[in-house]
């Protein structure tokens, strides 16, 4: 048990470290000069040199790296090149929105995808099954920005059912604020979920079909247990595990890949922050954002692993 957890934690730390290192060296080894973007046009070589010194870019690469790691370990994410504000402030202003969007996308995919997959497996060959199979193959083919735009124009602009972008109405308080929050969350959430729920339901269906053909299921039925118990208590518990792992792996895509959705819906997440920081060559913010994203994915993966373990204590890989 302990070694299992230890292995998972080791892997988590390794992932974060790799994310940090990859970002760090990519930024410094690829040809791009952040000083050029801070002052355009009239910049003397002296000004450029002093800027490079201020950004810490004048030191040898390995020293920069060491300094940065030391900084990270002490919890300091550094100061933004462009905004001069602490990176932590900048990222924390956006992180809750990313967590909200990704977290709810995760939950909704689970809550809707699981019953869909189960029903498709149980009612194999019937209409439900055909629909889930069709949807499972097509949903991945949808180009998210196109879907997002369609939703925004039709449901947001034409039918005025949902707000046009933004995260929340700032003039609301209390219950109204919660409602506004979810009202603004709906369309971005729907865009993200629509694209990934298909394959998820499909995987679950496949796994359920396999499990339902197992001997112990047949013996459970023979023992007189109701269909519902057999399916939902016994079969699902085993079928869900690979699907859960799949979701955990999708988290990386979900958390960072929402940049297109965030742009169109003006949703202030970390994905969009990364895009803007790349344009501005704001290294500290970029590094910080990747660290935070990797951290989030790793923590979420650990959580799903824990849940998997709770569901089936026999798991030891």
């Amino acid at each position: 048990m302990l070694s299992y957890i230890a292995k998972k934690v080791f892997r988590a730390v390794l992932t974060i470290w790799i994310a940090v290192t990859v970002t760090f060296f990519l930024l410094r080894l690829l040809p791009a000069d952040p000083t050029l973007l801070v002052i355009e046009g009239d910049m003397t070589p002296e000004m450029q040199e002093s800027l490079r010194a201020r950004f810490g870019l004048d030191k040898p690469l390995h020293i920069q790296y060491g300094l940065y790691l030391a900084q990270l370990v002490s919890g300091d994410l550094g100061v933004s090149f462009r905004q001069l504000a602490p990176v932590a402030d900048i990222i924390l202003a956006r992180l809750p929105w990313t967590l909200l969007l990704a977290g709810s996308a995760f939950l909704v995919t689970l809550l809707v995808g699981i019953p869909l997959g189960v029903h498709a497996a149980v009612k194999r060959g019937k209409a439900v099954d055909k629909v889930v199979q069709f949807f499972g193959t097509t949903s991945n083919a949808i180009f998210v920005p196109s879907m997002a735009i369609l939703l925004l124009v039709v449901l947001g602009a034409n039918l005025a059912l949902f707000p046009i972008g933004g995260s929340i109405d700032p003039d609301t308080r209390g219950v109204a604020a919660y409602l506004s929050l979810f009202h603004h969350l709906a369309l971005p959430l729907f865009s993200l979920v629509l694209v990934q729920i298909g394959p998820y339901a499909l995987t679950l269906r496949t796994n359920m079909l396999e499990v339902l053909g197992e001997d112990y299921i047949k013996s459970a039925r023979a023992r007189g247990l109701s269909q519902r118990r057999v399916v939902w208590r016994h079969a699902l518990r085993n079928a869900i595990l690979p699907a859960l792992t799949l979701m955990g792996l999708q988290l990386g895509t979900l958390v960072g890949g929402a940049v297109l959705t965030e742009t169109i819906f003006a949703y202030p997440g970390v994905g969009r922050l990364i895009y803007e920081s790349v344009q501005q060559l704001d290294y500290p913010v970029l590094q910080g954002a990747f660290v935070m994203l990797a951290f989030t994915v790793v923590v979420a993966n650990l959580l799903t692993d824990m849940i998997a373990m709770l569901l089936n204590p026999r798991i030891r890989t």
Partner: protein, 284 residues
Amino acid sequence: MTLATVTTRRRRNRQSFMSTPGGWLSISVLVLMVLTATLGPVIVPNPSGLGTDILQPPSAAHWFGTDDLGQDIFGQVVWGAQISMAVGVAASAIAIVIGTAMGLLGAYVKWLAPVVTTLTDVMLSLPMLPLMILVTALAGPSVTTLIVVIGVLSWAEVARLIRSHALVVASMPYIDGARVLGAGPIRIMLRELLPAVTPLIVVSVLLTAARAVISEAGLSFLGMGDPSSWSWGRILLNAQRSGVIATAWWQTLFPSLAILVLVLAATIAGIRYNDSRDPRTKGV
């Protein structure tokens, strides 16, 4: 296994693949797409210059309408097929080669297994699109950059798949037999394991290429694509920049449909191929 049974089995597989509408429809669509990408630019003129019909909806003269420069969108989609598909196929090739190598190594070479699995899991945990954005922006957007970036960041899923199936094959007795007979690890991986996972590779090629097309469209839409060549993502980018997404619906619809159709065809072909080899679901 005699030659006769092998060939009849193959013929049976091909039959059952093509016998379902999913099978032959998806293959025909893929063939059509490839034809469009290769022959289209020869027949359809390169969209360029300034036209006179600006932002026209689809009509007999312009099947997909025109954009804000008066250029024919149908021409743009046809020319875009070339780059979008080229990137998809090339990136997929890179991902497949790396992924298969990693998968086989991770399955057969015992001391490498933990390294490979850790590496694969880490790769899958990294945020893909932000990394692609980062590298493309820093290296300068071009078709080459896109292919390399998408390819190098897509091998992990392939590796995972290949490895899990190669593991099953690697534990079979005839592999031990081959080892006893003196075959080295490379020979065993190439001669025994690789053929056994080839059907999986075929499926992976299709699915990875489909995903790569979507990644390319996404990157182009963000302005990270190659500005000197047409791609489906770039048509969408033009619509976005011109502020006409809500009004000129045709400029967004047709490239999106192209992406949808291509990815759908590839996915269904992959699934049908898989099913046609699985005795349990053959013909379902």
